[in-house]
């Protein structure tokens, strides 16, 4: 049935697209057909055109972004030229990346009903359909009167999904659904999408570059894009066996990389898509064990002296409100690069704001090199501790890169113009921004903007830099770029603290992780130990890595050692 011609819902024929504001097309010669009931993953590095492709399907092109299209795109039997965003909204339901930003209604019920309101559905029918849809997506009816912002990350995803499913759409389109979710919630989301698809038979298109996380549940096809073209369109098995992912800067599932390092030849009959179905022969397992034993141990690091210390920190936003943090003890040691992890709302960002003095604790003390931080103003603290916000747009206040980076120096120090210029040049060189020094900030990519914000923090020579989700929404190449840069800064002696959801990041770059949960630190140990402790993983809404599972399959008892050796090898290879 799947192959019958009539069942093609979406068909691109030699389709191309160029934004009015750009000189080069974003999409070239796209030929792609999507059949009814299929589940497709579209992946590719940032800027490969996958979002543009999505905008063509849901009608945001041309409704919000104008440009020139060539070729043909048939949606539900009609040419895209005869359709508009409103007609398409009945056909495709889009769940956007930022579930917080896309809530329109003040209550969950109102938000789910939004599409119906716009369709003039009567109040009675509307209430019924909201109830039906929320039951299907697993939202309790008692939640309908809550504000969407009060919900947990997973519930928010359900509400966002219900808001588009209420319209009986034929296609569900997910635009980077995992970008802002903690690992466990991301896993649940993929599971939810899978269940909904099986129940309703809806066609599902997922746009995402976090391949391993999406492949946690089956997909029919993976479309790989690069520079506006479709590179491959195949089953996930075939794609994983090829070396296309590596070539185009998409991170392979970790167990696949590990198997490749171990010299295991991948083939489709090993069912490499999901680790829980992976078929490994005894010989292959042997290869993995041999590889494990052949790579060197990571050296144990000795403990350095404490630079920053927090004792008994207690904090709540309103004087009688719930405690966001309750009795937190924490230490930062010389020269380390560590991460703060935990589920959304566990108090990670609040804690870092307290360190920087943006908020004041009700109880407890912070000391820096033995000196009480509460005596210092925000400005004074900033000379020692820099804070980089998640969204670079929230930090950049000058139109030119040079001006932005020198802002802190001009405002604070008594340096002369020449000294400032020299210092700024030096920082720009360290950050790899020197060639762009006179560019406007707006011409930079997200990753480059991030560098600008880091550069402007570096200008004041802090000993510690705290970064909130430095790689959120970044593809593998940008991720590597940003992280290698931070590693480099770390090797110059700056303490780096990363607040993150990204387990790969934590494993690869940090020696230690502090896990926040329910207002306190529930564990503070090496990243491998954290991720191999199943109970901890559950409590903190983290995710075990597939490497642990692989080491179990191969009968290697110490999975944290396996992870450590893998990371070491991987970093060597990637260099």
């Amino acid at each position: 049935m799947k192959s019958s011609e009539e069942d093609i819902l979406i068909e691109f024929k030699d389709f191309g697209f160029k934004y009015t504001a750009q000189s080069e097309p974003t999409l070239y010669n796209i030929n792609l057909s999507i059949r009814r009931g299929e589940k497709i993953l579209i992946c590719g590095p940032s800027g490969c055109g996958k979002s543009t492709l999505a905008h063509c399907i849901n009608g945001l092109i041309p409704a919000s972004y104008s440009g020139e299209a060539t070729g043909e795109l048939i949606l539900d039997g009609k040419s895209f030229r005869d359709l508009d965003i409103f007609k398409l909204s009945k056909f495709v339901g889009t769940v956007l990346q930022d579930s917080d930003g896309q809530f329109i209604g003040l209550t969950v019920g109102e938000d789910i009903a939004f599409a119906l309101e716009n369709d003039n559905v009567s109040l009675k029918d509307m209430k019924e359909r909201v109830l039906e849809t929320s039951a299907m997506t697993g939202i309790r009816s008692s939640l309908l009167s809550h504000a969407p912002h009060q919900l947990s990350g997973g519930q928010k995803q359900r509400v966002a999904l219900a808001g588009v499913m209420v319209d009986d759409v034929n296609v569900l389109l997910f635009d980077e659904p995992l970008a802002n979710l903690d690992p466990a919630t991301g896993k649940k989301t993929i599971d939810l999408i899978d269940k909904i698809q099986k129940k309703t038979g809806t066609t599902v298109i997922i746009i995402e570059h976090r391949l391993e996380d999406v492949l946690y549940r089956d997909v029919d096809r993976v479309v790989l894009m690069n520079e506006g073209r479709i590179i491959s369109d195949s089953t996930p098995q075939a794609l994983l066996c090829s070396d296309l992912l590596k070539k185009y800067g998409i991170r392979e599932p970790l167990y696949i990389t590990a198997l490749k390092y171990a010299g295991v030849e991948l083939s489709e009959d090993m069912k490499p898509q999901r680790i829980d179905r992976l078929v490994l022969s005894e010989q292959m397992k042997k290869k993995v064990v041999n590889w494990f034993e052949s790579v060197p141990h990571a050296p144990e690091k000795k403990k350095e002296k404490v630079i920053l210390q927090a004792k008994g920190i207690q904090f709540s936003y309103e004087s009688e409100g719930p405690k966001v943090l309750d009795g937190v003890d924490f230490e930062l040691r010389e020269g380390e690069m560590m991460s703060i992890v935990g589920k959304n709302g566990a108090g990670k960002s609040t804690f870092s704001k307290l360190i920087c003095g943006f908020e004041k604790p009700q109880k407890g003390v912070f000391t820096l090199n033995g000196r009480d931080l509460s005596e210092m103003s925000i400005k004074e603290r900033a000379d020692h501790i820099g804070y980089v916000m998640q969204n670079p747009n929230q930090m950049i206040s000058k139109p030119l890169i040079r001006e932005e980076v020198s802002l802190g120096l001009v405002l604070k120090s008594s340096l002369t113009r020449e000294e400032i210029d020299r210092k700024v040049d030096e920082i720009l060189k360290i950050c790899g921004l020197y060639p762009f020094r006179n560019w406007p900030v707006s011409a930079l990519s997200y990753g480059q903007k991030k560098r600008v914000t880091i550069a402007s923090i570096l200008a004041t020579d802090p000993e510690i830099i705290i970064l909130d989700e430095p790689t959120a929404g970044q593809d593998f190449r940008h991720y590597t770029e940003i992280m290698e840069f931070l590693k480099e800064l770390n090797s110059r002696g700056i303490i780096i603290v990363l607040i993150t959801h990204d387990m790969h990041l934590m494993l690869e770059y940090c020696s230690r992780a502090a896990i926040f949960s329910d207002g306190g630190i529930i564990a503070d140990k090496s990243c491998e130990e954290v991720l191999t402790d199943r109970e901890l993983v559950d409590r903190a809404s983290l995710k075990e890595t597939s490497l642990s599972e692989l080491s179990r399959i191969c009968g290697i008892p110490d999975d944290s050692d396996f992870i450590r050796r893998f990371i070491l090898t991987d970093r060597e290879v990637r260099k």
């Binding site: 809530f103 329109i104 109040l123 929230q394």
Partner: protein
């Protein structure tokens, strides 16, 4: 964080009135208070307003900023009236009872005092009701009620979205200003020159504007993708049927307005004149 212009959720009879009722009542009530200068009616209305406030369970400290602001405005208004037309009362009431002179043309008369008392009463009659409306009507109900009285739903919705994002933007402003202060940007210190302070404020606003634009783009896409703006009309999930309390409230306000008109006819003018 103190609410400046915001919905405060409580369970009260006022909260459970429909948005449209509250908007209609607000309009009729203000009309009644605006048109009349009858001191007797104007004296009764603030009493009603205070009672409504108590019923609504909104406490004074919830809305003190708004009250404070209106009080300053009222004071300013009165000073200006006296400065520009110290004899306004005497022209209205036709008599001139001098109490004491201040200097030059500024002579305090009973009539002027009485007139300005009326102005104060007008404020006292309307301000609490406006504040009450704002703090007991949630933004989406506000939008639906604007729409019900004939305002285009697109305009109604944008007003309500703007109201809703005020707390978010306040929070974001706080974060941004902290991050900028950490870089040495100073706000509101008396030591700096005005121009420098304005420049610093601009440096802080720039990122706020950029990130607000991002936010607007996302919400606009989300709305369009779900069919906002497709039809001339739309329905409202938060709409509630009118109940007897709604009809009673409207009737009460209509009676107030009728009294105001009746007094206008009886007095032969907008003013109640105790001086004849």
């Amino acid at each position: 964080m103190t609410n400046i212009f915001n919905y405060i959720e409580r369970k009260s009879p006022i909260h459970s009135l429909t948005g449209a009722t509250k908007l209609l009542c607000l309009l009729i009530w203000s009309l009644a208070a605006m048109t009349t200068f009858d001191t007797r009616l104007l004296a009764v209305m603030p009493v009603f307003a205070v009672i409504l406030f108590i019923v609504s369970k909104i406490r004074l400290k919830d809305v003190k900023i708004m009250f404070w602001f209106s009080f300053v405005f009222m004071l300013l208004n009165n000073i200006l009236i006296f400065l520009f037309s110290p004899e306004h009362g005497t022209t209205i009431y036709g008599t001139r009872t001098v109490l004491f002179p201040i200097f030059w043309r500024y002579i305090v008369t009973k009539e002027q005092l009485f007139y300005q008392l009326n102005v104060v009463l007008k404020y006292l009659a309307t301000i609490p009701i406006v504040i009450l409306f704002v703090s007991t009507t949630d933004p989406s109900e506000f939008a639906s009620s604007l729409n019900r009285i004939g305002v285009s739903y697109k305009i109604a919705y944008s007003v309500s979205l703007a109201l809703r994002y005020i707390p978010d933007i306040q929070r974001e402003y706080h974060d941004i200003s902290m991050a900028q202060q950490a870089r040495g940007l100073e706000m509101a210190s008396g030591k700096q020159k005005l121009i420098k302070r304005l420049k610093n404020a601009a440096d802080m606003l720039f990122p706020l504007i950029v990130s607000s634009m991002d936010r607007i783009e996302i919400i606009a896409s989300a709305m369009e993708l779900r069919g906002f703006g497709k039809n001339k009309k739309r329905t409202w999930y938060s709409a509630r049927p009118f109940r007897s309390a709604d009809y009673l409230s409207i009737a009460f306000c209509v009676i107030l307005a009728a009294v105001s008109v009746y007094l206008h006819i009886v007095n032969g003018s907008r003013y109640y004149n105790p001086f004849i």
